[in-house]
């Protein structure tokens, strides 16, 4: 059976969710592997959300926000800029592949870019295989 990755998308309401919406209304195609949750700002995305996604069976997490400088709340996405690299450093220590967690800036006019990011990420995770929390150790 082919492995179909489950990807959680967490998108900011003002840019990226609108970008994904534009992607749909302009009939661009992207894989159905992503499940999108809308948040008010990428700065709202706590590291816990990403870990919880993996705990609940996601194979990858995509976070999209406004380009730096474009945040609706002036500097919400700078909080993400600070938080994300530290989280990535910790996740790599825990053996979670780089491709599984991704941060991208998608504006409301970048529907096509959103489609290409989702397609690329789906393919990368398909190659990696499913995420298993207990890989390399039982009794987890």
């Amino acid at each position: 059976m082919n492995f179909e990755p489950k990807i959680l998308g967490i998108l900011c309401k003002w840019c990226s969710y609108a970008g994904a919406d534009l992607c749909g209304t302009s009939r661009k195609k992207y894989p159905p592997n992503i499940r999108i949750v809308r948040v008010m700002c990428s700065g709202r995305v706590e590291p816990t959300f990403i870990l919880k996604a993996f705990e609940k069976g996601a194979d990858g997490v995509l976070i999209c926000g406004c380009h730096p400088g474009d945040c609706h709340y002036a500097e919400g996405n700078y909080k993400t800029v600070r938080r994300f690299p530290l989280l990535k450093k910790m996740l790599s220590q825990l053996g979670i592949e780089d491709e599984r967690v991704r941060l991208e800036w998608v504006s409301a006019s970048e529907g096509e870019r959103f489609a290409s990011i989702v397609s690329e990420m789906t393919e990368q995770i398909r190659r990696l295989g499913p995420f298993s929390r207990n890989n390399g150790g039982g009794n987890g």
């Binding site: 706590e46 590291p47 816990t48 870990l51 919880k52 993996f54 705990e55 730096p68 500097e75 700078y78 909080k79 800029v81 600070r82 938080r83 690299p85 530290l86 989280l87 450093k89 910790m90 220590q93 825990l94 053996g95 979670i96 298993s132 929390r133 207990n134 890989n135 390399g136 150790g137 039982g138 009794n139 987890g140």
Partner: protein, 319 residues
């Protein structure tokens, strides 16, 4: 009133919890008035078979410290749960896995390789590693099975109360024991401490604006004794740690390491602490942020010092 029956047990722990239990000092006489200790491997000679022989639910409370590292500890957790009316996870290891839980960065194979062959002082040409059973002329010898993953007590059996800390402070221990003796225990599932939200609430250091350009390890700077340690770039976990301890560490110039566990309502202490640390970085430039983060050498060991087995991911994935 009939005397209470209390059992105390240690699993994957260091023995510090036993010292902490004795730290109640002369109050131990009050405990002895109200309770008989029926099982305490560190201090009294009662065998496992004696505990197996007592009726189910005949022990009033069991204070269990240490995480679950091997099959013996799992067996004893199940046995004591069956025999006890109240099961109390005592200390950070039983609560969240504790320091031994950091071994969840590895598995049995990698731990055995390191301990029994790779360490420079080890001379083991025959590659002898512990086995669960071994035949000798006199019969079969057995050892408990060493698991890949350290689990918390709550991941193993039903737990009624938690006393946090590495080790729990004397006042926290007594708060719980007093409630037990007087029959005034809080609702099931409670973490028993003095009701303080975070370590910061009890810390006397001055707090201003948290803006950090560089993080330090404790040996790299001489910290100011008056100002918040996190503001000075030391990774103090007080901000993400349940209070009730009285903040003894920051008062002696040591950053909090997070032994009282997450603040109420938080499910993953490490992620919470990570988020707080990232938020104090004073920069909007990705390259500079990366340089600042490079000073945090061991994020898992820092953020999940006591709580890796209890975290959402529980362990590292090993290729």
């Amino acid at each position: 009133m009939a005397k209470l029956k209390v059992a105390l047990y240690w699993a994957a722990s260091c023995g510090g919890c036993e010292i902490a239990q004795l730290e109640i000092g002369e109050k131990i006489l009050k405990l002895a008035e109200a309770a008989d200790i029926v099982f305490w491997p560190v201090a009294i000679d009662v065998k496992y078979k004696d505990i197996e022989a007592v009726p189910d639910q005949s022990i009033d409370a069991c204070l269990f410290n240490g995480g679950i590292r091997n099959s013996e500890q799992e067996h004893m957790a199940n046995l004591l749960r069956k025999k006890s009316k109240i099961m109390i996870a005592y200390g950070a290891c039983a609560y969240e896995g504790g320091i031994p839980g950091l071994a969840n960065m590895f598995n049995r194979q990698t731990i055995f390789d390191r301990v029994y062959s790779e360490t420079p002082s080890t001379d083991n040409n025959d590659k002898i590693v512990p086995q669960t059973n071994y035949q000798v002329p006199e019969g079969e010898l057995t050892l408990p099975e060493f698991y890949d993953t350290v689990r918390t007590l709550r991941q193993t059996v039903d737990v009624d109360y938690i006393i946090p800390g590495c080790p729990p402070e004397e006042k926290t221990t007594w708060l719980a024991l007093e409630a037990l003796i007087e029959g005034k225990l809080p609702p099931k599932g409670s973490v028993i401490t003095h009701n303080v939200k975070a370590v910061c609430d009890e810390c006397p250091r001055k707090r201003d604006v948290k803006k950090v350009k560089k993080f330090y390890r404790t040996f790299e700077i001489i910290s100011d004794p008056e100002i918040c340690l996190l503001e000075q770039g030391l990774l103090c976990a007080g901000i993400a740690t349940r209070g009730g301890c009285g903040a003894p560490c920051p008062q002696t110039n040591m950053p909090c390491t997070g032994c009282y566990g997450p603040v109420e309502g938080v499910i993953d202490q490490g992620a919470n602490f990570l988020s707080a640390v990232a938020s104090v970085i004073e920069s909007n430039d990705p390259e500079e942020i990366q340089r600042i983060i490079d000073d945090i050498h061991d994020p898992v060991g820092t953020f999940y010092r006591y709580s890796l087995p209890d975290s959402l991911l529980r362990r590292a994935r090993i290729k």
